[in-house]
Structures are given as C-alpha cells and as structure tokens.
C-alpha cells in the first residue's frame, strides 16, 4: 500500500500576525514557516504504518513554489520516502476546491490508496481540502482521527465527534484520514535522516503532467474569495479588582451577574 501525505507550510504558531494589504492578507516577510502541526501527525502516522509493514512507501504531496522545499526536506528528514511538489502558474490563487482538484489528480496518478492529512491547516483554518479530495476521488474519509488501527483488510479510526466523545469508524481502502492532536507524538529528525533527506527526490509537476483542465483550478476558478483583511478589534481595557481575596471574589460574581449579565 502506498501512502500519500498532504503537506502544507504555515506560519509558526507564535507568529505575531500583521496585515500587509487589506485586499491580499497577512505580511509574510518576517514570518517563520513550519510544517502545519496537524500535518506532522499525518507524516508520523504514515511512517509508523510503513515501519509496521503495513505500507510500502510514504509520498509527500504539496502544492507550492520553491519556498516550500525546506518544509518538504524537514518531512523527508523525518523519514518520508520522496515528494511531489505541484507547481504551475495556473495553480496560483486556487481556493480549497481548486487545491483539492490538483491533489486528487496527483493522488490518482501516483496510485496511492491511503491519504493522510492534517485535520486543518492553521493558517486559513478552512478544514476543507482532505474531504474534498475524498469526494473528488469517490473515496470514503474519516476526519479528526485521534487513534488509528490498520490491518490488511482495512482500518479502525477513532473520530472526535463533539462533547469529548469519539466515534469508532471502520472502513476499507482507498480512504482519506485526517489527523487530530493525540494521534501520535511526531518524531524529531535524526542527523542521519537530515543527511539522507538531501538526496531524496522532489519531483515537480504542473497542470499538463497531471492531466488537469487548467480552467478548473487557479484564481479564475476560485468560488471563495477573501478580502478586507484586518486585525481583530481591540478589546476595551478591563478592570483589575482590588481588596482581599474574599472581597474580590464577591465583587467578581456580583459584576458577572449585574453588570456583564453572563451568569
């Protein structure tokens, strides 16, 4: 079984976001980029399945320019076998559905039968692409998986379903599974892994190589468009309560009730 892992680079979680231009989004000049944290769980799970003899190869797939190659190398250093970087001038400005079409075409061409991805990327927080890929391929999917068991015939996946409860979902391959926190603890790359990653192949493919109809991807095909970017509104200054502990606690409960009216 060949595993494909969808990879995206995102600003590190401690990034202080600034708006570059309200029509285009955040300033990226001084951003430190990382692998999307949920994608790291997906990479780790793919590697564990391969090490357990349940998969033959772990292939990374990412849409983006040369600037994403360092993130690809980071995941190759963890142990992934090789990578596909999907780049084409016609891909630029794709919305989630456009990205899903690009990835679905590559997954099909590669003969992949299990796709692992993060449950969402922590930049746009869309949580759309993996399930769209499943729909486009006509496969089943299980989202937000925090525990996974795979045997020859299929899988059992524990899906977060709200209120702290988990659905245990049984299914077969091919399938798309998205990783939630708790699935595993991603490994750090070893020095040997980092050295080996330098020699691993990163193939670049565009629309023609994927057999994609260029009119279905890119900015022209995007159905969802963002604009009017701002930082969140400032909150009005709060009040620091004074007095001894008992007095402050009493005052707090009274304020919550009579002023804020939230209890």
């Amino acid at each position: 079984m060949k595993i494909g892992v969808l990879l995206k680079q995102v600003p590190a979680t401690d990034t202080q976001v600034r708006i570059a231009d309200p029509s285009t989004g955040i300033a990226t000049g001084d951003v430190k980029w990382t692998i999307n944290p949920y994608d790291e769980f997906a990479v780790e799970e793919g590697l564990r399945l391969k090490e357990a003899g349940k998969a033959t190869e772990v292939v990374l797939l990412t849409v983006g320019g040369k600037d994403v190659e360092q993130r690809i190398r980071d995941a190759l250093a963890m142990g992934a076998d090789r990578a596909l970087r999907l780049e084409d001038p016609g891909f630029e400005g794709s919305d989630c559905l456009g990205l899903a079409r690009i990835l679905a075409a590559a997954i099909k061409a590669e003969g992949i039968s299990l796709v692992l991805a993060g449950k969402q990327a922590i930049d746009g927080d869309n949580a759309q692409v993996p399930a769209m890929v499943a729909e486009l391929l006509g496969w089943g999917h299980v989202g937000s998986v925090s525990k996974l068991e795979v045997d020859g015939a299929g899988f059992k996946a524990w899906r977060t379903s709200g209120g702290g409860s988990l659905d245990v979902v049984q299914g077969g391959f091919p399938a798309v599974l998205t990783a939630d926190k708790g699935l595993n603890e991603p490994r750090y790359a070893s020095l040997k892994g980092i050295m080996m990653a330098k020699k691993k192949a990163i193939d670049v493919k565009g629309a023609a190589a994927l057999g994609l109809d260029a009119s279905t991807v890119g900015a022209g095909a995007a159905l969802v468009v963002d604009s009017a970017w701002t930082l969140p509104p400032q909150r009005p200054a709060g009040r620091i309560l004074q007095g001894d502990n008992a007095a402050r606690v009493k005052e707090l409960v009274s304020l919550l009730r009579s002023e804020a009216k939230v209890i």
Binding site: T15, V168, R239, I263
Partner: protein, 322 residues
C-alpha cells in the same frame, strides 16, 4: 438560480441544538422576505422550528442516520437543497457539518466558507466575515457560485424569540451512493458524557500550567467549572504536561471557542491561546503575575494565587447559582 436560505438544524439528544435557532434568526434577517427553510437529519419532527421562522422543514430519519456518516449527510443535504432550491445554506460549524460540507461543496460545485462569525448583505449577496490564523486576523469572504455554503461558529448570533408560525413538514427521499458503505460507525466512546462541547459552550473555565499537576487541575478547575455550569478547558502547556486531555485544549492547535464567559485561571496568555478565545464576550483572568498578557484581554482581572482564589470563587458561584 435559487432564492432564500436553507438552515441546517442539528438535532441531538431529543431536541434541536441552540445553533438551529441562532441560524434561523439570522436567516430571517438576511432573506428579506424570501423563503427560509430548514433541514434536520436524524429526526422525523419539525419541532418548534416553524415558530422561529422556517416555512418548511425537510427531515431525513431512520437507521441510516442513527450515526453520523459523511455520505448519508451529503445525500440528505443535497436532497434538501434540490427541494428547497436556496441561494444560501447556513449550518453550524459543528463536527458533523464541518466534516460533511467540504464533500457537499465538491459534489455540488458550490463555494463553501468555513466557520464565519458574521454575515451581512452586500448588493443582494450574503457576505461572511471569518477569523483566520485562529483569529489573529479577520477577512470578508464572498462566494461566487450561485449556491453559497457557510458554516457559522456557534454563539455568533443571539437566538431570537419564538413567533407564532408553523412549518410544513417534508420527509426527504435520500438516495444512496457507493461511498456510504466505505465507512461505518461500529461504536461510540464517551469520555465526558453530558458535557457541552467547548466549541459550543456558553461558559468555559480554563486552567493553565500553574495548576501544577493533574490533581491540581481536577481539584481547582473542574469543581469551578461545575459550579459555574461551564465546560472545562486547558491551555496547551497544561495539556502537554498531561494535566488535561487533548480534547480540552483551547487555542490555535486546540479548539477555538466563542463563549459568553471565559474564566482563565493561571493562564499567562501565550499568543496561541489568546487566538483561540479572544472573541469570548466576557473574559475573567486570575493570575499571580500582573504582567501576564491575558490581562490585556480581560474584562475583569484578579491579581492573585489560583490556589486561593479558585476555591473561594467555586464556593461563591455555588451559593449564587445553586
């Protein structure tokens, strides 16, 4: 091209969720007299949705809907969309809808915007506003297809008062697709049964690393949450230290929450945490360090030791709320 708005009314534990009413209220405001309809999965009743403005309620019920399955939901939602022919679909940003809507979008070729927190009319079109980077930035979002799909963060809009209307009940005939059999729920494990999910909670009490241990979390934060009739939450530091489980983490790599009341106990306010809770209506911060960034967001702050303040607050809330 469709007109009006179709609302996904989630049904759980024998009643419609609060989000159903929040969305119907907003739909009435946006539809400008156009038809407002609802679709409910897993029930054969329209309940009181008519009193909140739904003229028709499409229902899909039976064994196939006993557990969430992305395929049956997409089939049912597609059937409701073809019957109601709306211009806009509004659904709660719940685990089920967030899971099903990407498939629905790809199947129908309809643009989908995730988890908006505001909706308004602009030149006849519904425009959303959504947090990105876990709320560190916001953008408008426009959908260019004739049918626009939105999921909406719970607690974004007030639930309206009930009126006198009633709804026509329409049972959907839901087709099957090959993907339905691809996955099947074989069991459900509840870790904290009966607790409102953080993403839908109206009150949250969160603890940080300064609870010092799992015992500290269990003896300070959980009783305070119970006394406040709130859902417990935790910072990433507390979760990584093993004081609370992953599903209780609030923040950029945990859950983004939107309650009326958020009480942060011993949480300094790392940027990733603030991103996940900054839209809370009222924020209370209790922390020993007066310089903690959490105080920059707090409506009410107490500079003090959580080991002294939290038990007192638990007692006071118990006395007040019962």
């Amino acid at each position: 091209m469709g007109t009006g708005i179709l609302v996904v009314a989630e049904f759980e534990g024998g009643h419609f969720k609060k989000t159903a009413y929040e969305l119907l209220g907003k739909a009435l405001e946006l539809a400008g007299g156009g038809p407002v309809t609802a679709v409910a999965i897993g029930t054969d009743q329209a309940g009181d949705l008519g009193a909140y403005g739904a003229s028709r309620v499409f229902v899909a019920s039976g064994d196939r809907f006993a557990h969430y399955n992305p395929s049956t939901w997409v089939q049912a939602l597609s059937a409701a969309i073809s019957a109601a022919d709306p211009a806009v679909v509004l659904a709660p940003a719940s685990p089920a809808c967030k899971d099903a809507f990407p498939r629905l979008s790809a199947r129908l070729g309809a643009g989908y915007a995730t988890e908006v927190t505001e909706l308004r009319l602009d030149g006849g079109a519904v425009v959303g506003r959504r947090p990105q980077y876990a709320g560190k930035a916001l953008s408008d979002v426009r959908v260019r297809s004739p049918l626009a799909l939105f999921t909406v963060r719970p607690n974004s809009f007030p639930a309206p008062a009930a009126g006198a209307g009633s709804a026509e009940l329409v049972a959907l005939s839901v087709g099957q697709d090959p993907v339905e059999a691809a996955t099947k729920v074989v069991a459900t494990e509840a870790s904290t049964a009966g607790v409102v999910d953080l993403t839908e909670a109206d009150r949250i009490v969160s603890g940080g690393r300064s609870v010092k241990s799992k015992e500290g979390f269990d003896s300070l934060i959980r009783p305070l949450a119970a006394a406040a009739h709130a859902t417990p939450g935790a910072s990433r530091a507390a979760v990584d230290a093993g004081y609370a489980p992953h599903n209780e983490q609030v923040g950029q790599t945990g859950k983004v929450v939107n309650p009326s009341l958020y009480i942060a106990c011993g949480i300094s306010g790392a940027i990733q945490h603030l991103a996940g809770m900054r839209t809370s209506k009222v924020i209370v911060a209790i922390n020993k360090d007066p310089e903690a960034p959490i105080f920059g967001l707090a409506t009410y702050g107490i500079h003090g030791d959580i080991f002294e303040i939290c038990p007192l607050l638990t007692q006071e809330l118990k006395a007040t709320l019962g």
